[in-house]
């Protein structure tokens, strides 16, 4: 597989796409491509995305989606980034679209059928949709990895051919590729576990037989903004790992709302704290592991949470350097509104993580 990423920060979509087109055509190492993935800033006119891509690139083999910022190798791009993929052997990408009403049946059957493939999910941000996906139950191990695209002021869509998907998911099903992935966390768990007494969907109501909002009352002392709490995500405890949860909203004396959901098997939470250096060390450790597990990586997908970007601030770019240096492969990705990863027979929506996926054609 040959993978190339090109980007443009031209504020006119047409010119940004033309700039990328010219760059890929001047690349001596790739003379054609089988599939293109576009990450397009939310500020571009969304109605023109399909039209401009088709006009400039003259292809139907693409997927585009809105982002705030995307990753072009070691750069964070505030414009358009495009990943061009050319398979050299039997590699293939199949594109599937699912709407909310198809999650319980069509999507579930799809995951069972394609359980041995890399299935890369791109989901629009919608709490009900994501809860539906993560509440699916399977009897066997499945494979799903990817991210939730951002949504700002009602904009945040997926684009393919003639379609604009405003609420739904697209899965890129890769055939004849090998892959390994890592969910990178790196938060410092602090203090004892607390029992979840009442939680539903994305809201936590009662912890240790007390109003959950009592926790945030103390956490917000002398602080103004809920985003300050992103430095101390709540960790949902599982047997061998934890799921960080990012604070979204607080209803005094009632509940705390998070960007991810609570499931019936989530029983305990723990406080945590983020330290930039420790997060970066964890990045390096996990990237090295990925490199050991999959030799000769040809492409890296990086789905990194906006809340992680917020706490890493200027150090976020270092995360990109660590991945690029360690994995030595083209890196494409974006800042997500949640990372989706199957673990055994369960689909989990993570927050504040970086999901790193190394791919190589068979």
């Amino acid at each position: 597989m040959i993978a190339r990423i090109y980007s443009s920060e031209n504020s006119i979509l047409k010119f940004a796409l033309e700039e990328i087109y010219n760059k890929i055509n001047q690349d001596l190492f790739i003379n054609s491509y089988d599939f293109i993935i576009f990450a397009i800033n939310l500020n571009y006119p969304y109605e023109d995305i399909n039209k401009d891509i088709k006009k400039i690139f003259k292809t139907n083999n693409y997927l585009a989606f809105n982002v705030q910022n995307s990753f072009n190798n070691t750069k964070i791009v505030n414009g358009v980034s495009a990943l061009f993929i050319k398979f050299e052997n039997k590699g293939k990408i199949n594109l599937y679209t699912f709407y909310e009403e198809e999650i319980d049946n069509k999507f579930k059957d799809f995951l069972k059928e394609k359980k041995d493939n890399l299935n890369l999910i791109f989901s629009t941000y919608d709490v009900n949709l994501i809860n539906k996906i993560t509440n699916l139950e399977f009897d066997e191990e499945i494979n799903l990895t990817g991210g939730v695209i951002p949504k700002i002021e009602d904009i945040g869509f997926i684009y393919l051919n003639e379609k604009i998907i405003k609420k739904g998911i697209v899965v890129l099903n890769f055939e004849n590729v090998e892959y390994k992935n890592k969910v990178i966390t790196g938060y410092i768990p602090m203090g004892p576990d607390s029992k979840i007494n009442v939680a539903k969907d994305n809201k936590l109501y009662v912890v240790d037989y007390k109003d959950a909002s009592l926790i945030t009352n103390t956490m917000l002392k002398d602080l103004d903004n809920i985003t300050d709490l992103w430095y101390a995500p709540i960790l949902i405890k599982r047997e061998n790992f934890y799921i960080p949860r990012t604070f979204k909203d607080i209803k005094e004396n009632f509940y705390i709302e998070f960007f991810g959901n609570f499931k019936t098997n989530d029983n305990y939470i723990q406080m945590s704290f983020a330290n930039k250096e420790i997060l970066l060390k964890e990045d390096e450790k996990e990237a090295k592991k990925l490199k050991e597990e999959l030799k000769n990586i040809e492409l890296v997908f990086d789905f990194s949470c906006v809340a992680r970007e917020y706490i890493l601030k200027d150090k976020k770019i270092e995360e990109q350097y660590i991945f690029a240096k360690t994995l030595n492969a083209p890196l494409f990705g974006y800042f997500t509104f949640g990372e989706i990863q199957s673990i055994k027979n369960e689909i989990i929506n993570f927050n504040q993580t970086t999901l790193l996926i190394g791919v190589r054609e068979c």
Binding site: G191, I215, T218, M219, L220, D222, L223, D228, A232, M271
Partner: protein
């Protein structure tokens, strides 16, 4: 940076408060466990082990073995709930009757044990007469009385095990004859 430090302090405050709660909870559990280890759960009198443990250091006492008469019949007639109520009321009666340094325990079923301090064969009789009268009056409606055997330290023996045996045998003497009485020799 300032925000991060403030938040960290706030998180530590939550954790400290949580640890304090755990500490309080543990103290409560330890207290409960201790109570369970030392006291009979139904009557809250000393249990057998704790009774004899405390008796070890005593030098001059009268050991009473008390068995309720007709308790089994009351239990069968009125049910276990009433049976338990009788045992609790009997324990309270003993607690009100014996004061100060005296030790009171339940050794199982309807058998109780009391160590009356600084007491000998001469002065125990009036105490036991009054005790029997009080029991008879209190439990008249259930026809419950008591058979009591007494052993004396050091007059009967200086070995506690032997004193217990003596008191037990004397209690059985009463039980097999008249009931509602006591035997001190």
């Amino acid at each position: 940076m300032l925000n991060e430090q403030t938040l960290l302090l706030n998180v530590i405050e939550i954790i400290t408060s949580k640890y304090n709660e755990i500490l309080e909870e543990n103290k409560f559990l330890v207290k409960k466990l201790k109570e369970k280890a030392l006291y009979d759960t139904l009557t809250h009198l000393l249990n057998r082990d704790e009774f004899f443990n405390r008796l070890k250091t005593k030098k001059n006492f009268c050991l009473l073995f008390i068995d309720l008469d007709n308790f089994k019949e009351a239990n069968d007639t009125y049910g276990h709930e009433i049976g338990d109520k009788i045992l609790i009321e009997f324990a309270n009666l003993l607690k009100n009757f014996f004061k100060g340094k005296d030790l009171i325990g339940r050794i199982g079923g309807d058998e109780f044990i009391v160590a009356v301090m600084d007491c000998n064969k001469n002065n125990i009789k009036s105490i036991l007469k009054n005790l029997l009268l009080e029991i008879k009056n209190h439990f008249k409606s259930y026809n419950i009385t008591a058979s009591i055997g007494a052993g004396f330290y050091p007059d009967d023996n200086k070995n506690i095990e032997t004193i217990i045996k003596i008191a037990d045998e004397r209690m059985y003497k009463v039980k097999k004859s008249t009931k509602n009485g006591f035997c001190i020799e």
